[in-house]
Symmetry: C2
Subunit: 408 residues, 2 copies
Amino acid sequence: MELKRLRGGITEPEGFLAAGVRAGVRSKGLDLALLSCEEGPVPSAGAFTTNTVKAAPVILTMRHLRRERRLGAVVANSGCANSFTGERGLRDAARMAGLTAELLGLKAHQVGVASTGMIGTYLPMEKVEAGIREAVARLSPSREASRSAARAILTTDRSPKEVAVHVETEDGVPVTIAGMAKGAGMIRPRLRTATMLVFLTTDARVDPLFLRSSLQASVDRSLNMITVDNDTSTNDMVLVMASGRAGNGELRGDRNFQRGLDFVLTELAKMIVKGAEGATRMMEVRVKGARRGEARKAAMAVAGSNLLKAALFGGDPNWGRVVAALGYSGARFNPSRLTLKVKSRRGEATLVERGKPLGGPELPEAVEVMKASEIIFEIDLGEGEEEATAWGCDLSHGYVRINSRYRT
Amino acid sequence: MELKRLRGGITEPEGFLAAGVRAGVRSKGLDLALLSCEEGPVPSAGAFTTNTVKAAPVILTMRHLRRERRLGAVVANSGCANSFTGERGLRDAARMAGLTAELLGLKAHQVGVASTGMIGTYLPMEKVEAGIREAVARLSPSREASRSAARAILTTDRSPKEVAVHVETEDGVPVTIAGMAKGAGMIRPRLRTATMLVFLTTDARVDPLFLRSSLQASVDRSLNMITVDNDTSTNDMVLVMASGRAGNGELRGDRNFQRGLDFVLTELAKMIVKGAEGATRMMEVRVKGARRGEARKAAMAVAGSNLLKAALFGGDPNWGRVVAALGYSGARFNPSRLTLKVKSRRGEATLVERGKPLGGPELPEAVEVMKASEIIFEIDLGEGEEEATAWGCDLSHGYVRINSRYRT
């Protein structure tokens, strides 16, 4: 199957309109995004943070999707997470849904609501309501509108994150899948049926149950495999809406659609990691040879190790930290069968071959490999057949600076 | 029971000699410590890292203690962890034990061996052997000798860590318990029957099984409740030796001895956190009202949150990060029953009262409280009866600087 990457974002699939406006929740810049489907309420699915403390918009949108599995619009603000805000927070989130629904001819439960920013503060509702009105007036299918929406959900992110692809369904019908994301800190999504927000659109006709299961499958391979700081947010949310405009027969298990969705979410996941707070380098951690159910743990422990992240910042091939992280990951392995390589566009170096260190951390090839901005650690645990890939970033002075005085 | 703190360290209890010398493993400074008991092999107990990758000295010392539960000496080096060094590493560790035993008239399995420093490099054995010979020649019961040993086990630590106390056993016999510690990074001990090293001595006569169970009980309340960077080392080791010189009846369950051991280990644990790599502030996280088995998880998640640690560095009472960490800790609670306070010598502020935020993160009292160097977070989950306390430090530019170019 061919998978063709497109320019643009969530308005590339047929049937979607977007807008990004300034409501004034943040001190400056766009801060309110609206996504709307011209078809009205369409099959939709979501994945939400598993944090015990769930922000008001998360609680509300989970309820909305449980009720009908159809959304007609999504409204999102940055600058205030509306999290740990109790009944008042829930009322504010419901008001965002209600007003959006009213202006777009939908029912309130057909609107998804998302927020990101500071925890423990209330939304300035007058500003938010004025922003929603303006966003509705500006809804457009243009790439500029998509870009504005992608900008409006950002907080400490460095740049907007948009991906769009064409795939052909197994029946040979071309469909488009697209997404936008926000995420820069408090990123270690544990999503299930982050303050990471991802909104996806497709013009494929998709059975709602398949939409939900394919979303969860993709999320498990992409967003659930990244970490910036091991902190799981109270606001993480992924939503996908399927307009059905592509004219294909309803998808109930299409591998090509799944591949397209995998691609969009993995690209967005990597963009989140590369654009993470203070990040200067990205690492991809590929684990193979793991026992069943253990590859993900091993990969995530390495990607999340503070010590390895600091070494990555310094370009230091301190592979003992990889080994230590594998050792506390919970994955079972015999150190004497471990193989570890590091790769980048600057070359490749084998650090450990079946348990044998091939040189200390000063290995010159390894030092050279670590100079690149994207580093791959290839790990073979030598135990089983399972594989997993995780992504992480370095721990830099920038991260400390940003998070020692964070105000969105 | 009175608990009286003493000056000095591991040579305060009767019957112990110590030395710290320069063997030349590190680029500068003392790097080889020796602890010896004048009584020869005495009841001893250990707790070791649960990392799957265990350093050679950890594997060796576990074997030695399993064999006889008696040690007559402990030899430790800094500058090289002798971890992930395969058969050669095991031979080197065995040689350290063998030579020490030979020189002190012990059997090799009566010597504990510990190492800390870089993972994946071999020990320079000629230097180590010369160091052991010199250390044996310098063994002394003096405070200076104890101090030298405490210095010789350090790597990136800022200063030596020694504690000694007098307690009376339940029978009214005065005994002394003392310890020294090393630990500055790769600190999130998960010890069971850290590159944290702790060596303890006591002149009490103690039943070996009680010595082991009381050590594990103390470790679970102290060293297993600290985190610097959530990275669990391959080399963590705690050893206690009981000389029996105090003349008490053999202890088989003495609460006062347990309290003394708790005190020594908790003080050392806090010294490790305060002296952690780059640390400028310490936090104590007190959790109460937790369900059974969940207080520790909740406290450790808060103490280990990178975002909260960065906020602590900046003196920012960003309590949303406390709430988020509690939410992903795995402890079950209803956010509407959560109470959260922050305290220090500069005052006290209630941030959340039974689920209700009492002001955003800019609360002036909280900003004032956060200016101190030791901050206490008091958390009531409002669910059950369980309590736990954890300790952590801030995430600073110093931590990033040290760990982006670490060489001991």
